[in-house]
C-alpha cells in the first residue's frame, strides 16, 4: 500500500485494526443514512406543534389518528414514488391515476351493478396496464419519464372525465357505500383494524371515551395499516433483496447496471406499475371512505408524493433514497397540514409552508450528503 504514513499509524502493517479507518461514533454513521434529514425534520415539526398546538386537540388520540390518516394516504403513493425515484424515474401521472381508478371502481358498481371486488380488480388491472405503458414508452423511446408521464397526466385525467361523462352524464358518482358491506375485497380498503383491542383498552380506561361510552378511537384506519405495510415492504426490498440492489443500480447509472447484468428495463417497468397500483390503492381507500368517486380526485398528488420523497432524502437524479424517509416525509406533511388546521392559522398558508419546507429539506439533504461522503 502506498498510503502516506499518518501520525496515528503507529501499529505496523499486519495489525488487526486498519490504521486508515477512524472509528466513527454511532450518530455520525446515522448521519450518512438518507432518512436522517427527514427524521430530524419530523422531530422538529413534532416539537413545534407540541408547543404551538398544545390543548387544541391535535394530540388527543383521535387527533393523532386524523393526522396519521392524512400522512398514510400520501405515504402510500410516496412509498412507490420513492422506489421509482431511486430507480431513476418520475411518475407525474399518479394523481390522474387516482382519479381514473376511482371512476373505474364506482361506475361499474353503481351504474352496472358489478360486485365490488370485480370493479376493484378492473381498476387494478387498468392501473397495471397504465404503469406498464409508462415504463414501456420510457424504455423504448429513451425520453425522460418527466415528459412521458406528463402526457399520461393529461391522458388519464381526460379519460376519467370522458368516461364518466359518457357513461353516467356526471363527473361525480355517489352511492358506492351501499355496495361495500360483505364484499371480501372491499373490506381490505375500508373500516378499521383492531377495534376489539381499542374497546378493551377503553374499558380499562387507557384511552378516553366519548359521551356515549365508546372509545375515542375505535380502531386504526386501514389506510394507516396499508401505509405501514407498504413502507415495510419497500424497505425490505431496498435493503435485503437483489431486486432492491437492481433498483439502486438502475437509478445510479442505467448503462453501467445493464452492462453488469441487471435487467434495467424490467426493473423500470415494474416500478412504474407499482406506482400506478399504489395510486389505485389510494383511490380504493378514498372511494370506500367517502362512498363516492370524483373525476377531479388526486389532483396534484403526484407533486405531493415527490415532495415527501425528497424530504425523505432521495436524490432527484436517482440511485439514492429510502422508503422510511418517504414515510417520514409523508408524516411531516400530515402533521403540518393538520397542525395548521388545529392552530387556526388560515389554511391558505399551507402551500407556502409546504414550498418553504421542500426548499429547506433539499438544502439540508444536500448539506448532509456532502457531510456523509466526508464522514465515510
Amino acid at each position: 500500500m502506498n498510503s502516506t504514513p499518518s501520525p496515528e499509524a503507529n501499529n505496523p502493517a499486519g495489525g488487526q485494526q486498519d490504521e486508515r479507518l477512524r472509528k466513527l461514533p454511532f450518530w455520525k454513521r446515522a448521519l450518512s443514512r438518507p432518512e436522517f434529514g427527514a427524521l430530524a425534520g419530523t422531530i422538529l415539526v413534532l416539537a413545534f406543534f407540541l408547543v404551538v398546538a398544545s390543548g387544541t386537540g391535535m394530540f388527543t388520540p383521535s387527533g393523532i389518528v386524523v393526522f396519521l390518516e392524512v400522512a398514510a394516504q400520501l405515504g402510500i403513493i410516496a412509498t412507490a414514488a420513492a422506489l421509482l425515484m431511486i430507480g431513476g424515474e418520475f411518475d407525474l401521472s399518479i394523481g390522474s391515476m387516482i382519479g381514473l381508478a376511482g371512476v373505474l371502481i364506482a361506475i361499474p358498481v353503481v351504474q352496472y351493478g358489478w360486485p365490488m371486488w370485480m370493479a376493484i380488480l378492473l381498476a387494478f388491472s387498468c392501473a397495471g396496464l397504465v404503469g406498464w405503458a409508462n415504463g414501456y414508452l420510457v424504455n423504448r423511446t429513451g425520453l425522460p419519464s418527466f415528459i412521458v408521464t406528463l402526457a399520461f397526466l393529461f391522458i388519464l385525467r381526460g379519460l376519467a372525465i370522458g368516461i364518466s361523462r359518457l357513461l353516467t352524464g356526471r363527473t361525480q358518482i355517489g352511492g358506492v357505500q351501499d355496495h361495500i358491506p360483505g364484499d371480501w375485497l372491499a373490506s381490505l380498503f375500508s373500516g378499521e383494524v383492531g377495534t376489539g383491542l381499542f374497546n378493551w383498552m377503553a374499558s380499562h380506561g387507557w384511552i378516553g371515551t366519548n359521551f356515549a361510552g365508546n372509545p375515542a378511537v375505535t380502531g386504526i384506519p386501514v389506510s394507516i395499516v396499508w401505509w405501514l405495510g407498504l413502507t415495510a415492504l419497500a424497505t425490505w426490498i431496498l435493503l435485503f433483496t437483489p431486486y432492491g440492489n437492481w433498483i439502486f443500480a438502475s437509478g445510479g447509472d442505467a448503462n453501467a447496471a445493464r452492462n453488469s447484468g441487471v435487467p434495467v428495463r424490467r426493473v423500470k417497468v415494474s416500478l412504474f406499475m407499482f406506482t400506478a397500483l399504489s395510486a389505485t390503492v389510494f383511490a380504493c381507500l378514498q372511494v370506500m371512505d367517502t362512498g363516492s368517486a370524483d373525476t377531479l380526485r388526486g389532483m396534484l398528488k403526484e407533486l405531493e408524493a415527490i415532495i415527501a420523497v425528497v424530504i425523505g432524502g432521495a436524490l432527484l437524479t436517482g440511485g439514492y433514497g429510502s422508503a422510511i424517509g418517504a414515510a417520514l416525509g409523508a408524516l411531516i406533511f400530515g402533521m403540518v397540514q393538520m397542525g395548521i388546521f388545529y392552530t387556526g392559522v388560515n389554511t391558505d398558508w399551507f402551500k407556502v409552508f409546504l414550498g418553504v419546507m421542500l426548499l429547506v429539506a433539499v438544502l439540508f439533504n444536500n448539506f448532509m450528503r456532502k457531510k456523509a461522503l466526508e464522514a465515510k
Partner: protein, 271 residues
C-alpha cells in the same frame, strides 16, 4: 493448443452505428488457456469489439461462437450467464453504491427461500473484502461508496468482480490504466492464473510491458479493421511496440525529448 475448437470465436463480424462503421469484417479466435492481446490506436474499435463479445452491442453482420456453438446475446446479462465476464473501460460501477453492492450487482448471493429470500450480506461483504485483498487492496469498509474510492481502487473492484464471476471467458479493457506497479503486476498475475485455469482471456492495453509477458497472441486493429493476428513466437517485443504506438513516432519523440533536456541543461548552466 491442446483444445480443438476455440473457446470464443468471431467470424466476419461487423458493427455499424448509423453511418459509422466501427468494426468491419473482424475474425478472431481465442482458445481456452490462451491470452489474446488486442492492440490498436485510440478509436481503433477495441472497445466496440469487446462490447460486441460481451453482449452490449449486437453485431450488424457476422456471427460469434462460444465453445463452438453460435451465440447471440440479447443483453450483457446473457453473456454473463454464458460465462463471459468483462471489465469495461468505463468500469460499469455505480458511484453511490457500496463496494459490496457493486461487486455483486446483478449476481447477488441469497439465503432463505420464498418471500424470505434475501441477500446474504455477511457472505457478500466477506467475499468482496477477500477478493479485494487478493488483488492487493485492503478495503477499509466494504460498505464504502465506490464513488469515494480512488481511481485505481475502483478499477480493482471491477477487475476483482470479473475475475470472481468469469467462468469461461475473461475480457479486460485497459484494466491496468490507473493502477500502481504493485496492483498492475497482480492483475497480470491474475491473467496468467486465469489462463492456467483454462479461461480464454482477451486483454486490451496500451502498455507493451503489460501486454508482452502474458499474451499468447496479438491482434492488431486499425480504423475498425483487423491487420491480422500474430502468435507470440512470430513476433518480438519491439515489433509489438511498433504495431501498438507506431515505433517511429516514439523514436522521434525520444529525439525531441532529448532536445528539451539539452536546452534545459544549457539554461541551468547560464543561470
Amino acid at each position: 493448443m491442446t483444445e480443438h475448437k476455440p473457446m470464443i470465436e468471431m467470424c466476419n463480424v461487423s458493427k455499424h452505428f448509423g453511418s459509422v462503421i466501427a468494426l468491419s469484417d473482424i475474425s478472431l479466435k481465442v482458445h481456452s488457456g490462451e491470452v489474446m492481446c488486442l492492440l490498436g490506436d485510440n478509436g481503433a474499435g477495441k472497445s466496440t469489439l469487446i462490447k460486441t463479445l460481451s453482449g452490449v452491442h449486437k453485431p450488424t453482420h457476422g456471427e460469434m461462437l462460444l465453445d463452438g456453438k453460435p451465440v447471440r446475446f440479447k443483453s450483457p446479462a446473457y453473456a454473463l450467464d454464458a460465462g463471459i465476464a468483462t471489465v469495461f473501460q468505463d468500469l460499469a460501477m455505480i458511484p453511490l453504491m457500496s463496494i459490496t453492492r457493486n461487486f455483486f450487482m446483478g449476481r447477488e448471493p441469497t439465503v432463505g427461500w420464498g418471500p424470505m429470500k434475501r441477500i446474504d450480506w455477511k457472505y457478500a461483504d466477506r467475499i468482496a473484502k477477500q477478493e479485494m485483498a487478493k488483488i492487493g487492496i485492503d478495503v477499509r469498509d466494504p460498505g464504502q461508496a465506490v464513488g469515494t474510492l480512488s481511481g485505481g481502487e475502483r478499477q480493482c473492484v471491477a477487475i476483482a468482480r470479473a475475475v470472481y464471476f468469469g467462468a469461461k471467458v475473461l475480457i479486460l479493457d485497459e484494466p491496468t490504466s490507473a493502477l500502481g506497479v504493485k496492483q498492475a503486476s497482480v492483475v497480470l498475475r491474475y491473467i496468467a492464473k486465469a489462463r492456467a485455469d483454462g479461461l480464454a482471456v482477451i486483454f486490451i492495453t496500451h502498455n507493451v510491458h503489460h501486454a508482452y509477458p502474458v499474451a499468447n497472441a496479438f491482434t492488431l486493429l486499425k480504423r475498425g479493421g483487423s491487420l491480422g493476428s500474430f502468435r507470440k513466437e512470430e513476433i518480438t517485443r519491439e515489433e509489438v511496440l511498433n504495431m501498438m504506438a507506431g515505433g517511429a513516432e516514439l523514436e522521434s519523440l525520444d529525439a525531441e525529448l532529448a532536445e528539451f533536456q539539452r536546452s534545459d541543461q544549457q539554461q541551468s548552466q547560464v543561470a
